[in-house]
Symmetry: C2
Subunit: 328 residues, 2 copies
Amino acid sequence: MIPQEIMDTLKNSKSIIILPHISADGDALGSSLALALALQQENKDIKLYIEEEFPQMYSFLPGKELVSIYSDDNTNDQRVFNGETVIALDTGDIGRLGKRAKIFNNAIHKINIDHHPTNTYFAEMNYICENASATGEIIFQLIKAMDIKFDVDIALCLYTAILTDTGGFKYSNTTSLTHLIVSQLVSYGIDISAVSFRIFDSISENKLKLIGSAINTIELFENGKIALITITKKMIADSGAIEEETEGIVDYARNISGVEVAAFVKEKFDNEVKVSLRSNSYIDVSQIVNKYSGGGHKRAAGCTLNTSLLETKKIILNDLIKAVKSRM
Amino acid sequence: MIPQEIMDTLKNSKSIIILPHISADGDALGSSLALALALQQENKDIKLYIEEEFPQMYSFLPGKELVSIYSDDNTNDQRVFNGETVIALDTGDIGRLGKRAKIFNNAIHKINIDHHPTNTYFAEMNYICENASATGEIIFQLIKAMDIKFDVDIALCLYTAILTDTGGFKYSNTTSLTHLIVSQLVSYGIDISAVSFRIFDSISENKLKLIGSAINTIELFENGKIALITITKKMIADSGAIEEETEGIVDYARNISGVEVAAFVKEKFDNEVKVSLRSNSYIDVSQIVNKYSGGGHKRAAGCTLNTSLLETKKIILNDLIKAVKSRM
């Protein structure tokens, strides 16, 4: 249940600023844009500040005319210095607002709506719903509870929010309520196949080339329980792919039938090698990266080693073999 | 609305045979197993006959003890010759029952439940719901209308049916009702991330190798509107992949940003080359394959040419260039 205090504050505010987290993803952007569009219908003066460029991937989302990239220097929006109501969305802690923490701190009324279990309750009014697959689910309920009319634009933003944070309704955070909400969103006439294609299937020629050459490097060990996939500086340069396009490539190794743990070893410089580890069911990869001051979770973790590519592979493979053998 | 006649027939039958279509896919198997499990709860004598081996990919589905592979020679099931009630599921026409058409024809009561718009209404009692994303949606409604209790096994079968026929809720056949039904299925406690991984992400080492080498063959033409991806006999042999593992590889070419039409050219023998075409928005690929006695739809079609690999590529590329240019 959305706290009445939050709904009352939004109803009674003439001016509202919405802040998604830095490096805004589909949920942060989709939730923020949906709320912006909904509150605009209520004749509020709405502004949505983001930290970086609007991601190309989400350029199809409606409501972008309400969005500005925040900069300390060039703002002449008085609300930044003396805002009425500011709402942080999908933001686990105030640090995730980046430079825009200033806007948040200057506000009269501060609201924090999120679904991360690690949320620090940094506002006056906090509504954290850990069971929600996405902040988009909470915004759906907020808009409904405030009795604001849905339209296809709001529905598209919320659909995108939920679609991305559930990995296309595939992750275990997807619940019965998630599908119930999506059922209502879809009824507003979203072109779901176009959205899915854009988010999950569309790929640049360069990234595809890099994937092709990365697949060719896959090595299996310990009866196929361990998979290693390697990317060198040269492979990235030859493909023409950009740095961020190496994301997700580790999954090609993890998804091989029989693999328990996959390592993606990426040469950044001659003696700087990034390692991403993924496990499927029992190996706690966060324990492995801890030795190298890395971080992450049981099933997904990473670290950087200041050794050569070859040496890094040896070290990590050794760790993975030990981890696999300890379970035999 | 499920016809009362069908429900009455099922209620009044002691023995019921269920038949999914040949080369049974997730929807055919999932719907059939769900119905089998539900009717078994009603103390019916249930048998599910399939044409081929149970697909490894779906081995996690419950209810397999009710399944037999049909063979003309070895059956001693009297119902095959003189069945009470037989129900064909997800089967567009009687030809899609293969050898098991005999079981269908021998039955006293014949039922046909399907969602293919091309269904030929080949039974006495037909219920064809073209708006259903999957036959699984119809079986959900049938079980509900017959007031049979759902459990996690039935839910898993129907979830798998709908998941596969909607490509993971991504295809345009996914409706508001689809998500509403899935919302109810998920509430029975399905491990949705495990099912999705198994169906969409898990891949054999050999198939992955083949994908890697196939990606390396991609060629773009006409400012990136046309993509060609090639697989030779040697590539298949070198990878160790089996024939059916070439399926879906065409999508790597189609998904490249900017590509309108993709051709997957697969050398089967020296002068037998299979061509699969996919388009994204405007080229009608069925028109192209028609020239070579192929078949399919506007966005997905295929044909076989009895020319060399090189010659086939030339011919098809020429057709694709013409098709793209005619739209400029």
